[in-house]
Every structure is written in C-alpha cells, then in structure tokens.
C-alpha cells in the first residue's frame, strides 16, 4: 500500500467558530420566528433586527471559519486524506440539497397528477368535485383555483429560455475554468471563471425581472396564487437562493485565484464551488422542464 495513505490526519485544535455559528443560528431562528409570527397581526416586531443580526453573525462565522481553514491549508497541514474528507463531505452535502429540492418537486408532481384532478372528481373522488367544488375544472398550469383565485401561467419562452441558455453556458465555462486550472493556465482560469460569475449574475438579474413581471397587474402571478404560484415561486425562489450562494462561492474562489491560491492538483475549494454550480444548473434544467415547459 502506498505510504501516503499513512499520513497523520490533521485534527484541528479548539475552535470558537462552531459556537459562534450555533449562536448565529439561534438568533436567526428566534428572529425569523418572531418576525413571521407577527406578520399577520402587524404589531411591532423586533424579530427582523434579531434576524439581521443572526445573518450578519453567520457571515462573520463563515468568514472566520473558512479563513482558518484556508490558513491551515496554505500552511501545508492538510494531507490527501483530508482532501478526500472535504470532497466526500461536499458531495454528501450536495446530495442533501438534492433531497431538499426533491420535496418540492414531489409536491409539484403530487398536485399535478393527483390533487388537482381529484378536486375535479377524478378517480374515486366524484363527490369531491360534485359537492365541494362544482365550479372547478382541473387544468395545469392551475390558473383558476377551486376557490376562484385567478392568475396567469408563466411561459417557457422569453426570459426563462434565455436564463436556461445562460445557466447551461455557465456550466460549460465553469468546466473550462476547471480544465484550465488543472493545466495551470492561470489567465485562462480567470477568464472562464469571471465569465461564469458574470453569467450567474445576469441570470439572477433576469430572474428578478421575471418576478417583477409575474407580480405585475398584467400577470397577477403571486406566491399565494394557488398551488401553481406556490410551486412556481418556491421552486424558482429556492433555486435562485442557491444560485446566489453558488455565485458567492465562485467569487470567493475567484479572489483566491487572484491571490495565487490553489495548485493544479490541489484546489478543493474550486472543485466544491464548481460541483455546486453544476448542481444548481441541473436543478434548473429540471425546473425548466417541469415548472415551465410541461
């Protein structure tokens, strides 16, 4: 067996960052809980401020914690085995994210295949349609809900199609950047990575424009416009949050590239950001098919 596999594994000394992170999550949960609870009543809420403090603390924690890790890595404390731990950890984290999206895709498919037709009397639910919702006709996208709320469906052409092309291209450019890094061609890495970040940013701007269009008087497509609006905004919204996070990761990696970090063999942070980027890309393709086209 290769002697490299017998390297000493780096176990970090004590760290206060996990505790900072725990307190930050506590503030976020308390703040968000209080803020959300007072939404309906409209009473004065301190929750929003606590929430902002918590988010700021999370950013501080991530910055400090990752600085420690980068510092240790640059000091040569990490081994190949450590690198494997990080890679496997990131892979399983992405898998958990996949399952989070699966819950919402599941809700979308359940509504389309089961609950909406059933409300119109499909299957053995004849009386549900006849007695409870006699006015209701099943359709997808559900532009008129059983209680009569009306909305408009978002088409797949136009902005969504452009966004799909943008994101697919960005996955390719991210891959080019990766290949360039493995060949140690630094200027090419900067170019392709910069282009990826730019495409991601444009995607997010267009997504905001699409939301503005949806919320306009013309479309009246809101978060609470029945199950179509629910699944549309929850899926694209959570995806947008992940694109934002992915873009931030890419920007951090870009800054580290500018500082001369990473080698052609050792660039876990780059790989992690790149994997994450491909993951949000794949989710978008599924979104485009199941939310927009079909």
């Amino acid at each position: 067996m290769n002697s490299k596999e017998y390297e000493t594994y780096y176990v970090p000394a004590q760290s206060h960052w996990p505790l900072v992170g725990a307190i930050a999550l506590f503030l976020i949960a308390i703040g968000a809980g209080q803020f959300v609870s007072t939404l309906a009543s409209g009473e004065d809420s301190w929750g929003g401020w606590v929430l902002i403090a918590g988010v700021a603390m999370v950013i501080y924690m991530v910055y400090g914690w990752f600085s420690n890790v980068i510092h240790e890595s640059m000091a040569g404390k990490y081994s190949q085995q450590m690198d494997n731990s990080f890679k496997q950890g990131m892979s399983w984290f992405i898998f958990s994210e996949v399952m989070f999206f699966a819950a919402f895709f599941g809700a979308l498919l359940y509504a389309r295949v089961f609950s909406v037709p059933w409300l119109d009397g499909a299957g053995n639910n004849l009386m549900t349609g006849e007695v409870l919702w006699p006015e209701f006709t099943a359709s997808w996208p559900l532009i008129k809900t059983p209680d009569g709320t009306e909305t408009t469906a978002m088409g797949w052409y136009g902005l969504p199609l452009i966004n799909t092309l943008l994101l697919l291209t960005s996955s390719v450019t991210a891959h080019f950047a990766h290949v360039a890094l493995e060949q140690d061609k630094r200027s090419q890495v900067k170019f392709w990575l910069g282009l990826t970040i730019l495409l991601g940013a444009v995607f997010l701007c267009l997504q905001v424009a699409e939301y503005a269009h949806a919320y306009s008087e013309e479309m009246k497509l809101y978060l609470d416009s029945g199950i179509y609006g629910n699944t549309f905004f929850m899926l694209t919204g959570f995806h947008g949050m992940h694109v934002t996070l992915g873009t931030i990761m890419l920007i951090v990696v870009f800054i580290r590239i500018m500082k001369g970090h990473f080698t052609s063999k050792n660039h876990f942070a780059f790989q992690a950001a790149s994997w994450y980027w491909h993951f949000v890309d794949v989710v978008w393709v599924l979104l485009f098919v199941f939310v927009y086209i079909i």
Partner: protein, 531 residues
C-alpha cells in the same frame, strides 16, 4: 508498518497534544470526538428526563377518567413536545453520541473526519430545543398539533406556535445532516489500513447506513416544515384544497421523511446489540454478512413503505396494497436479524452482565414491537387499530424497549471504557429489573386498550378503559423513577470504583478494547494494523 512518512512534522504534534483545555472552554470549543460524544450523551439524557417529565403529566392526567390536572390544550402540548423531544432530543442524539465516541475508536481513526463541523452539529442542538421549550412561555403556548404536525392542525388551526416550531426543526435537521455527513465521511475515509468494509464492526455498519438515511430524508423534513410555514404565514396552499393543494399531501411528504426516520432510530440499536450479544455469548456474531445485507435491505425498503401510516386517508386501492406488501416485506430482513442474534446465543457460554440483560430484553421486547407492527401493516385490520392506543403500544415497544434499551446496553457496555471504572453492578441490575417490569406494565396493557378502541392523544376517556389506564399510569411512574437509578449509576461510575482493565469483558473483540481504560484523550493518532 510505515507510518507518518510525509506530513508528520512537529507542528502537528503541537496540535495533537496539550490541548485538553480546562473549564467551560474545553466543552464549548472542543474538536475532540470523545468530548463531543459525552456532550451528546449528557444532552440526550437531560432531554430524556425532560420528555419523560411530560410523559408523567400525560399519565397523571390519564390515571383516571375525567379532566383533573391539566386542560386539554395543555395536554395536547404535552403529547406533542414529549414526542418531539424523545425523537429528536433523546434517542437520535444518544445514538449520535455513541457514534462519536465509538466509531473513531472502532475503525482506528484519530478523530472524526471533520472535527469542527462535529462540534457545530452538537452545539446547535441545545439552542434548537431551547426555542422549542421557550414556546411554552410565548403567546398561547407550545405546539399542540402532535409531533407529526399534520396539516391543517399545524397550519389553519395552529395556536401560533408554528413559526418557532418550524425554525427549531430546521436547526435540528441541520444538526442531524451535518452529524450524518461527518459519520459517513469518517467511515468511508478514516478506516485504518486493512480494515475493509466487510471487516468493519457491525456497529459501524449500522451507523454508516443510518447516516445515509439521515442525509436523504432530513432535507425532506426541512422541505415539509417550510411548506407548513408558508401555508400558515404566507398564504400558500400546499395543504389546502381551496388553492389546489391537499392536506393528505402533507402526510405523504412527512412520512416520506418519517418512515426512514423510524429506522434511523432502530438500525443503530441493531448495531449495539450485535456488539454486546457476541461478547457475552463468547461467540462471533452469527451471519455477519447477512446482518450487513439485512440492514441495507431494511434501509432500502424504508423508502417505499411510508403510506402505511395513511391507510385510512382514502388512498387508491393499488396504493393500499402496494404499501401493505412492502411493509410486510420488512419483516424478512428483520427476521434474519432476530434469528442471527438468537443463533449467536445458541450454545454460547452466556453470562448475564447488565449490558447482556438489556440486550436480551431488547431482542424479546423489540420482537413484540415488530409483531404488533406486522399487525398494523395489514390494511383491513389497520382500519380498526389506526390512531388507537395499539399504535402507541407498538411504537413504544420499538422505541423504548427497542432503541432506549439498546442505548442502555451500549452505555453499560462502554461505561468502563469511558470512565476507567466499573459501574456499580448491583445498582445497575436494580435499574434493569425495575425498568423491565415497569416498562411492560406501562406499555403492554396499551395493546388491549387500543384493541378495545381507546383513541390516542385524548385527555379523557370512556369509563371501561379506567382499570387498564390506572395500571399503565402506575407502570409509567415506576418506569420514570427507575431511570433515576441509571443517573446514579453513571455519576457513581464517573466518580470512581473498581478499576477497569483495558479489555473490560473477556469475550469482547474490537479495536476499542486495545486502548487503555479510560480511553486516552487522543487515540490512534497513528493507525493500528488490521489483519
């Protein structure tokens, strides 16, 4: 053995030694898997007593018919928070604590793969449960919609506690996912050279598979609580027919998480008794590889049985049949396991130390819980059992005499390794026998109550159920008090006693018994050699 050839430079020795800080900072900032394991175990025991106190309130109210002690709304808060605390606060962290303590020692690793993340996974838990418990004192009280928080009870008819509940569950989920990722990565990446997958102790195998289940389903729980949140506060209608959704959809998504969750709480128990029974039978585990495959089969099947919790919701006939047969299929790998445990004991030189007593009780009583599970799996008869005390009896047999008893078996088994002292044997036997008798008095009559039609989650009941309920309550109080004996045993064991050897049990196998007792702060900084 060629060890530490490349990176074993001096600064790493600085990091490894002399960092056992004293005082509170040791625990707050620790990256040591043994410290974190101990914190998990203590936290889970505190939560166990907290959830247990709520169970005492429930049993006090149900001691006799009529409303005596608490009002129905508070009773509902008790049943809800009791369930949440026992599932997410007591059983799961106790297993994670055992995993933290034992897995690195069993596979010859210096620590968990991601030590700082490990500390984060633990420290967010006390905060999550503070939020859950705080909700008793905010607004109109704690969650009262059952630990399964079915819509529309948790949405349209929520008492205002939904937001805090949702965010607390989010934090518990983050903790579980991060903890599970750590376990998976540790097992995949940190095994000592020569320890192939099929040489791993079965304890490690069960945690490996459990961690996969956690990574797969905890995000689904996060998804469904998020939908509950937006349905309650942001006007979405995932679980509201008026907007095209369906309350039954809640149950599908919840139980897609919830059924694997059940196995998350029992697979590690299988791992523990598969460790203790061979030790005290002085025989190797019968059918090691079949145990591994059975565990994996149970994990796979756990993803396709969720709707057996929903037979009475009016599913299409095909669904009822599919979920009934898949559920019954689980009895096959589980039967393999029970057979193997019995076959391990067969003609063994058995001795009845406390961990073995708990393990044998586990095998018998868990099997009772398994059989009542089979009864519940049959769709036609489930229409009678559904939402009765029969269900309560079933899942308490698998969770209390199953999961909890295995945790006790594991705790007694490794206490000498953790503390360096032997526990008080007489006191531990008192703990076992008091628990065994009272737990059966507590849960066995619930089967009859359920078959006779007593519904679960009610503060009052019809007169004909009075006698059994009286005995159940007496059993409940006795069981609750018996657990204090365990606390006494543990404290006594930490403070001193008869010194334990490195290998406490003569029949024990495994790397953890090759290090001294108590286990040094850092073990296996250089990997041991596995043949």
């Amino acid at each position: 053995m060629t060890t530490d050839t490349i990176h074993d430079t001096d600064h790493q020795h600085d990091d490894h030694h002399d960092h056992k800080m004293t005082g509170i900072k040791r625990w707050l900032y620790t990256t040591n898997h043994k410290d974190i394991g101990s914190m998990y175990l203590w936290f889970s025991f505190i939560m166990f007593l907290t959830g247990g106190a709520m169970a005492m309130v429930i049993r006090a109210e149900l001691f006799q018919p009529g409303l005596q002690i608490v009002d129905p709304d508070f009773f509902n808060q008790m049943t809800t928070v009791h369930g949440l605390i026992m599932v997410f606060g007591a059983i799961m962290p106790a297993f994670t604590g055992l995993a933290n303590w034992m897995i690195p020692m069993m596979i010859g690793a210096p620590d968990m793969a991601l030590p700082r993340l490990n500390n984060w996974s633990f420290w967010i838990l006390p905060f999550a449960f503070s939020i859950l418990l705080m909700s008793f004192f905010i607004g109109s009280g704690a969650p009262n919609f059952g630990w399964t928080f079915y819509a529309p009870l948790s949405t349209t008819y929520s008492n205002g506690s939904t937001a805090f509940f949702v965010f607390a569950v989010h934090i518990m989920g983050i903790s579980s996912i991060m903890g599970a990722i750590n376990i998976v990565v540790t097992i995949m990446n940190m095994r000592a050279p020569g320890m192939t997958y099929m040489k791993m102790p079965l304890f490690v195998w069960t945690f490996f598979i459990t961690a996969y289940l956690l990574v797969a389903v905890m995000p689904v729980l996060a998804g469904v609580v998020t939908m509950v949140l937006t349905d309650t506060y942001f006007g979405t209608s995932f679980f509201d027919a008026a907007g095209g959704g369906d309350p039954v959809m809640f149950q599908h998504i919840f139980w897609f998480f919830g059924h694997p969750e059940v196995y998350i709480m029992i697979l590690p128990a299988f791992g523990i008794v598969s460790t203790t029974i061979p030790t005290f039978s002085r025989k190797p585990l019968f059918g090691y590889s079949s145990m591994v495959y059975a565990t994996a089969s149970i994990a796979f099947l756990s993803f396709i049985v969720w709707a057996h919790h929903m037979f009475t919701t009016g599913m299409p006939l095909f669904g009822e049949l599919f979920f009934m047969y898949c559920t019954m299929l689980i009895a096959v790998p589980t039967g393999v396991k029970v057979f193997n445990w019995v076959a391990t004991m067969w003609r063994g030189a058995i001795s009845f130390e406390t961990p073995m007593l708990f393990s044998i009780a586990f095998v018998i009583l868990f099997t009772i819980g398994g059989f009542s599970g089979l009864m519940l799996a049959m769709t036609p008869v489930d229409f009678q059992y559904h939402d009765t005390y029969f269900v309560v009896a079933h899942f308490h047999y698998v969770l209390v005499t199953g999961a909890l008893f295995s945790i006790y078996a594991g705790a007694y088994y490794w206490l000498p390794k953790w503390t360096g002292y032997m526990y008080d044997d007489a006191l531990s036997k008192w703990h076992f026998w008091c628990s065994l008798i009272s737990v059966n008095l507590l849960f066995f009559p619930m089967h009859f109550l359920g078959l006779a039609g007593m519904p679960r989650r009610i503060p009052d009941y019809a007169l004909q159920f009075a006698d059994f309920n009286k005995w159940v309550s007496i059993g409940g109080f006795a069981f609750g008090l018996s657990q204090l004996i365990f606390l006494a045993v543990v404290i006594k064991c930490i403070r001193g006693g008869e010194k334990s050897e490195a290998k406490t049990w003569d029949g024990a196998t495994g790397l953890e018994w090759t290090v001294p007792s108590p286990a040094p702060y850092h073990t296996f900084e250089k990997p041991p050699k596995i043949d």
